[in-house]
């Protein structure tokens, strides 16, 4: 039994809990309910991301620029949280970044293709929050979304908000 498995189990349990609670009070879930669940999960991820990045960068020197931060997220942060590095980072050099992970650790247990595609967003909300939380503590306000077309590969889109 590894610690990574523990986190994955806990994550699954949290997702299932949030959706069950919402369902229990409403019966049928509409899009508004689904959005509420996603935002609860994203919020939880945000706090965790903030805490983690603090621990991770405690002894590091400060970053040169935004790109430097994003590279750190793709390598060090991703390794710490998802046990691998991001496979591909693209940017338009104007504040939008796309991070592609071809074997996203929280999706590998779900399916290896298109099955359960509609369930994938539930399992990505927390992670989006974690990225947003990490960036927030590094001084960057952002909007983070994720999309999946074939599991377990997924793309995170980060748009840095200019003040």
């Amino acid at each position: 039994m590894t610690d990574e498995a523990l986190f994955e189990f806990l994550h699954m349990e949290i997702v299932s809990h949030v959706y069950k609670e919402q369902q229990a009070s409403k019966g049928e879930m509409d899009n508004k309910d689904r959005a509420a669940c996603v935002s609860v999960l994203e919020g939880m991820g945000f706090r965790v991301g903030q805490g983690l990045i603090e621990r991770l960068t405690r002894d590091s020197p400060s970053f040169k620029d935004e790109l430097d931060i994003m590279k750190f997220i793709c390598k060090d942060y991703w390794t710490k949280v998802f046990r691998r590095q991001v496979d591909n980072l693209r940017t338009n050099h104007q504040g939008t970044y796309v991070l592609q992970d071809n074997k996203f650790s929280l999706l590998t247990q779900l399916s290896g293709g298109k099955q359960y595609l509609d369930q994938a967003p539930k399992y990505l909300a927390f992670s989006c929050g974690m990225v947003r939380g990490a960036l927030s503590n590094l001084g960057l306000d952002s909007v983070v979304t994720a999309e999946v077309s074939v599991m377990p590969s997924c793309k995170f889109q980060v748009v840095i908000q200019k003040l």
Binding site: L6, F7, R47, V48, L56, F72, K80
Partner: protein
């Protein structure tokens, strides 16, 4: 890009932080969703985590004493993974009838960096652990009562979990009979 932190030696501790922080976020969310601590305790108790694994480890035990040792070992391994300094929890305070014992943990890996605010005196932060232990034992046909007797979060020196064997669950009877 070169960050000079000793990543390899710290990686185990980092993963435990991920779990601990996530657990903390969960408890915080539950406190927001439910008005009283009792309800939060109940929700934590209901969650299922590693019962399967625990049950498989316990499965072949002949008696309650052996079960106690296996549980202590599994928790000890979990602590070693979390890089928590300390030993395997000790199994002590056996009742004369041999049906009740205490697990003493010097370090509770769930509570790193946690402080309980004053208005949550009755919150059993680590209640997830009780639910998991009880659930695992139910899977091997044992009905057991699991309680926190001492909690480092509430100022005690150690964390003590008391486990009491209630009865063997017969396959044909519904499990929720106690």
């Amino acid at each position: 890009m070169s960050r000079q932190s000793n990543r390899t030696t710290d990686s185990k501790k980092m993963n435990s932080e991920l779990f601990t922080l996530t657990y903390g976020a969960l408890v915080t969310q539950l406190c927001k969703d439910y008005e009283n601590d009792e309800e939060v305790n109940k929700q934590l108790d209901k969650m299922r985590l590693i019962e399967d694994f625990l049950a498989r480890s316990i499965g072949r035990c002949q008696d309650f004493r052996e079960t106690a040792d296996v549980i202590a070992k599994v928790i000890g391994k979990f602590q070693a993974n979390q890089n928590v300094s300390g030993v395997t929890p000790s199994v002590t305070n056996w009742s004369p009838a041999g049906d009740e014992f205490s697990l003493i943990l010097e370090n509770n890996p769930l509570v790193d960096f946690v402080e309980l605010p004053d208005n949550h005196n009755t919150l059993i932060y680590s209640n997830l652990l009780c639910g998991v232990l009880r659930g695992a034992l139910e899977m091997v046909q044992m009905a057991v009562d699991v309680r926190f007797v001492q909690d480092t979060l509430r100022g005690d020196n150690v964390t003590e979990i008391r486990m009491k064997f209630i009865k063997r669950i017969e396959e044909n009877l519904p499990a929720g009979d106690e």
